[in-house]
């Protein structure tokens, strides 16, 4: 019957598909009980994508595994890495780096002054792209002194040079053989670095395999392999953890794991849950360029209207400490005395009254017939932000402000930051080692939300100028003074309502040891881990 | 020996306890024709379905049916399936919906013949064509390639009869075969039945509310009203001297209506030579 032919065709189609699919299956490492575990499976909601160290289209944690920098940031400051030592000239404009002589790229190429210069020049060629990082604006040129010595010459004595060189991107080194047309800004031909890991397999949107670099110059990784498994759904990640398919969850703000799940896992006791030191600042950005929030009295009033204790306890499960100032006093240069504004509804109401906003019959304030309403935008993917927004809505209602909350998908949310089309928005600083200098530096860039929120300030121009100056101030004390000035101004201008200081979280199976946090919340120190 | 003996056949609706058929008793001799008459809804079709055990699952059938002296078991579907088609065949009233619209007539005829007569497809096809020829369908080779919706009601009716004839069952039940047809076709069909009886000796159970046709074919008549037997006996007796009031009423009204039919019958008989004339009433 004709049916049979159709059925046969369908069957053949199905079979051919399964054959295709089977061929695309991975090389699973089956670890039976008793066998030593040498592969770590890490789950991420994102694929590593393009880990060109000089561009921004890949996952930072992955870039960090393969590519290294001249120096690294640690708790105790900047330490030597690919550069064994350095000297800074009297005028602070020339940094002479003495490179290690035993470093090779994994394609055999020697890491020497030439390779270093080529890399730095390649980054500078893509100048506009890196304009957010002040160091790029300050670099004049690079000179090769000898085979393993280079001179980095700046236009001004920019003090954060070393810590900015250590950042995950862009100043990391890729083998010059991977350059395309003598450049890296249009892509690279391979990902050959000097780091403890080599990217050996990448199935896009599925997984990536990093193998330990056997000829690594430093302390080799203890594990043989790290498998970066892509799982876009958070629930799936949790289930996979329970099943034992993945060993580690690591994440900054709400990206990989939300606080409720974290708490649940903590309580379950089956896994090890750890948190880093306070890393970044979580705050609400108030737009000084908008009608209502443009009034400083209003902004100040809002500072007193937020019940931060409840937020820290109730929503963040007590995992984060309250922030009274935008940057934590533990951050360099930020240990300054600033007026604390605690939760005080009366003071808030008084300030609003003074500003001319009188409570109407419906419980909300009015001024010249206009209702006091404002909108806060949050990333709809982040349930934490939504809960906090709802909480703020309630807080504000108590003082007569109608806060509308609006969740948007990530791109729209980011677009809004760039256009400045918001009353209130979420702000998360970048954390150490970007705070305070790189963070403050970015306030001067129009494409950033912070700029947009500050642009309505009377002294914005002065502020930007000050920030520019503090970067190149050579005198330590003067620098401290200027930071004090800047931070006090921002604090008094009440553009930020600081909420808490965030901490990076990690969850892993008990058999995994050596799990720790780097100075930067965006890096994952896989090389220190072992079973 | 009585070919078919039905004793106390009754059907009850289990859902509401309603009695649909009340204890029917009748018999059918070989080579004879029993007509079951009655108004629409009197239970004629139900009787046939009950005989063939094709009633809906919520109907309970009681009573005994004897074929060739042996009782037909009630709980043996396989046994019944063998009897159906081969021993007892039936022709439905509505020929246009009697065939599966997705298969050709030829396929369905083959299918029936192969199942009942255990022959090869080729032989079945040949037999089918021959049967259709006998029914007056001379273009049989083309007809078998057609689908039911491409043929007329009369043609389909004839195919049904052709199938039945080819199988040569012991009993043929004809459920109002003429009701859905026009006068000319009606005559054709009636003649086919006469032919069938004469050539194969098949006993016919003829259901109709058309007393004119019944008169021509049947030797015995069973009159039904609301599921019960009202009168049962010799055909001539019943028509000439109906004992029951209801029968009388039927006969009189229906005869009046069938008058025109009879007239045509008589006239046609004189003009057309090929048609064999049955016993005139």
């Amino acid at each position: 019957m004709k049916y049979n032919k159709v059925a046969a065709m369908l069957l053949i189609l199905a079979l051919s598909f399964s054959i295709v699919a089977c061929n695309t299956s991975t090389t699973e490492t089956n670890n039976e009980a008793g066998e030593e575990q040498t592969q770590l499976v890490y789950a991420s909601t994102k694929d590593i994508r393009d880990i060109n160290p000089h561009t921004y289209s890949g996952e930072m944690a992955a870039q960090n595994m393969v590519f290294e920098s001249l120096v690294i940031n640690t708790e105790d400051g900047v330490e030597p890495w690919l550069a064994e030592s350095w000297e800074i000239s009297e005028d602070g404009k020339t940094y002479t780096f003495k490179l290690r002589e035993d470093v090779k790229f994994t394609d055999g190429e020697i890491f020497d002054a030439t390779a270093a210069k080529l890399n730095i020049d390649a980054v500078m060629n893509n100048y506009e792209r890196h304009a957010w990082l002040e160091l790029v604006n300050q670099i004049d040129y690079v000179d090769i002194v000898d085979d393993f010595t280079i001179d980095l010459v700046l236009k001004n004595p920019y003090y954060p040079t070393l810590s900015e060189l250590a950042l995950t991107r862009p100043f990391r080194f890729i083998s010059p053989n991977c350059f395309i047309d003598d450049n890296t800004k249009n892509g690279v031909d391979g990902y050959i670095g000097t780091g403890p890991w080599i990217l050996t397999e990448h199935r896009e949107n599925q997984y990536a395999i990093f193998t330990a670099n056997e000829s690594y110059w430093g302390e080799k990784a203890k594990l043989k392999e790290v498998k970066w498994q892509v799982m876009p759904d958070h629930q799936t990640i949790l289930l996979a953890l329970e099943k034992g398919e993945i060993h580690l969850l690591f994440g900054a703000d709400g990206d990989m794991i939300d606080l409720d799940s974290f708490k649940a896992l903590e309580n379950q006791g089956k896994y090890v849950t750890i948190m880093s030191q306070p890393i970044a600042s979580r705050a609400i950005l108030l737009n000084s360029n908008k009608e209502i929030t443009g009034d400083i009295k209003v902004r100040e009033a809002l500072q007193y209207a937020v019940d931060k204790e409840s937020i820290a306890e109730g929503i963040l499960n007590g995992s984060e400490t309250i922030a009274d100032t935008l940057l934590s006093p533990t951050v360099t240069y930020c240990d300054i005395d600033l007026k604390k504004r605690t939760y005080d509804v009366d003071t808030a109401s008084k300030l609003l009254d003074e500003a001319g906003w009188i409570i109407g019959n419906d419980g909300y304030r009015y001024k010249d017939g206009t209702k006091m309403e404002m909108t806060i935008y949050y990333n709809s993917d982040n349930s934490q932000e939504r809960t906090i927004s709802e909480y703020l809505q309630d807080n504000f209602k108590n003082i007569g402000v109608d806060l509308k909350i609006f969740g948007e998908e990530k791109q729209a949310f980011l677009d809004r930051q760039k256009t400045g089309d918001f009353d209130l928005q979420y702000s998360l600083s970048w954390g150490t080692p970007y705070d305070p200098q790189s963070y403050l530096s970015s306030w001067r860039i129009p494409a950033h939300g912070d700029y947009q929120a500050q642009v309505g300030l009377e002294e914005k121009a002065w502020l930007d100028g000050r920030i520019g100056k503090v970067m190149i101030e050579t005198d330590e004390d003067k620098r401290q003074e200027m930071y004090q000035e800047i931070l006090t101004y921002i604090h008094d201008a009440s553009v930020y309502i600081p909420l808490t200081y965030s901490r990076t979280k990690a969850v892993h199976v008990p058999s995994l040891k050596g799990v720790d946090f780097n100075a930067s919340q965006y890096e994952i120190p896989f090389e220190k881990m072992y079973f | 020996m009585t070919l078919l003996k039905v004793e106390n056949l009754s059907v009850t609706d289990l859902r509401n306890g309603e009695r649909i058929l009340h204890g029917l008793t009748f018999s059918l001799e070989p080579n004879s024709c029993l007509a079951i008459v009655g108004e629409s809804g009197s239970g004629k079709s139900m009787t046939c379905k009950a005989l063939l055990q094709l009633t809906n699952p919520w109907l309970e059938v009681k009573g005994s049916v004897y074929l060739h002296g042996k009782e037909i078991p009630k709980n043996n579907p396989n046994e019944m399936q063998k009897i159906r088609g081969k021993k007892i065949s039936m022709i439905l009233q509505d020929a246009m919906t009697a065939f599966d619209p997705l298969y050709t007539i030829g396929y369905q005829i083959e299918e029936t013949l192969c199942t009942n007569l255990k022959m090869s497809k080729k032989a079945a096809q040949a037999m089918g064509i021959e049967a259709m020829n006998r029914m007056g369908i001379y273009d049989a080779k083309n007809v078998i390639k057609k689908y039911p919706h491409q043929l007329s009601g009369g043609m389909l009716q004839r195919c049904m009869i052709a199938i039945a004839m080819a199988i040569e069952p012991d009993i043929m039940i004809a459920d109002e075969p003429t009701t859905a047809l026009d006068a000319i076709n009606q005559r054709d069909v009636v003649e086919q039945f006469e032919l069938l009886q004469r050539t194969t000796g098949t006993a016919i159970l003829f259901i109709s509310h058309d007393l004119g046709v019944v008169q021509r074919l049947a030797q015995k008549v069973l009159v039904m009203k609301e599921g019960s037997c009202v009168e049962y006996g010799d055909a001539n007796q019943i028509f000439r001297r109906p004992q029951n009031d209801y029968t009388r009423y039927l006969v009189e009204t229906r005869m009046a209506l069938s008058q025109p039919f009879r007239k045509i019958m008589d006239r046609e008989e004189v003009e057309v030579v090929n048609v064999k004339s049955a016993e005139c009433i």
Partner: protein, 309 residues
């Protein structure tokens, strides 16, 4: 029959052109400037010069119709431009992700066909029995359950608790079972009911009665009922193929399946217009072609439709 097919195929051409035009129009109706978006996506500050340069590069300075014709011409050669995000050719990106989705959809389809046919037939044969009632109850519940919930539930039960399958990813045959099951669940529910009802309806038709009168055996009768019942299901089933292929987004996300559903969603989040555009055109074309194939197949099965063509 041949004429019918030819006529239908010719009719498709204007439909496809219409689709391409509408999707091109829709994308261009977007309020944001594609050049600006292309820059922003790569986090380049959209200064005026940069925007102008990008507009030229993307050919956005030409008039609408000219752009449409160029785009159409390129599309016919399967050149949909490059992705804004990673500058790789769109057709490459889509072709990379497509097999995974097709594989998943095919398995889901076979599951749906197989299970709903068997369940539908059995329910119809044993109408109103306990089995039938239980099956109908399960169907009712299954239709009500949302995809993502069912998926996670199945994952928890079969992958974690019973350790029978991997939780996610596309690796070997076992990994397709859970996502395909999740995907096919609601379809199975619909089609089982469809086939069951259709069969019950056909069971009571005159020709089935006559078939039994003719002495046809049970299996032959079922075959007749089935063939008539399949009719209505075929159209619905056929149209579910493009739905299966384009509707895998949620399942792909949960089970980390690297298909085009995921590709399209991240393209939308990233405002990656070339990919979105290509996806729309592809899916629309798929729907139209499937529709045609289903119609042809229907005519093939049912001589009455053929008659009308």
């Amino acid at each position: 029959m041949r004429n019918y097919i030819i006529r239908r195929i010719l009719l498709i051409i204007p439909i496809l052109i219409g689709i391409s035009f509408i999707s091109f129009l829709l994308i261009n109706l977007n309020p944001s400037d594609p050049a600006e978006v292309a820059l922003r996506v790569n986090e380049i500050v959209p200064t005026d010069e940069a925007v102008t340069a990008m507009r030229e590069e993307l050919g956005l300075d030409k008039p609408f119709f000219q752009r449409y014709i160029i785009w159409l011409g390129n599309s016919l050669r399967l050149d949909f431009g490059n992705s804004y995000v990673n500058n790789k050719p769109v057709s490459g990106e889509i072709l990379n992700a497509l097999p995974a989705t097709l594989y998943l959809a095919a398995v889901a389809l076979i599951m749906t066909l197989g299970i709903s046919m068997i369940a539908g037939i059995l329910c119809a044969i044993f109408e109103d029995s306990i089995g039938d009632k239980i099956t109908r109850g399960i169907i009712f519940v299954a239709t009500a359950m949302p995809n993502f919930w069912v998926g996670l539930l199945l994952m928890w039960l079969f992958a974690v608790k019973l350790d029978l399958f991997p939780t996610s990813g596309m690796r070997g045959f076992t990994s397709v079972v859970l996502p395909a099951t999740t995907l096919s669940l609601s379809y199975i529910a619909i089609y089982t009911r469809l086939i069951r009802n259709s069969m019950i309806q056909n069971k009571n038709e005159n020709y089935i009665l006559y078939g039994r009168i003719r002495g046809l055996g049970n299996w032959v009768i079922i075959k007749h009922i089935l063939k008539n019942s399949i009719q209505s299901s075929i159209t619905a089933l056929g149209m579910s193929i493009p739905k299966l292929i384009s509707g895998t987004v949620i399942v792909e996300n949960i089970f980390a399946w690297p298909g085009i559903g995921r590709l399209c969603v991240s393209a939308i989040f990233n405002r990656d217009y070339p990919i979105i555009q290509a996806y729309i055109v592809m899916m629309a074309t798929l729907f139209v072609v499937c529709n045609l194939l289903v119609d042809i197949f229907s005519a093939f099965l049912d001589p009455r439709i053929r008659r009308m063509t």
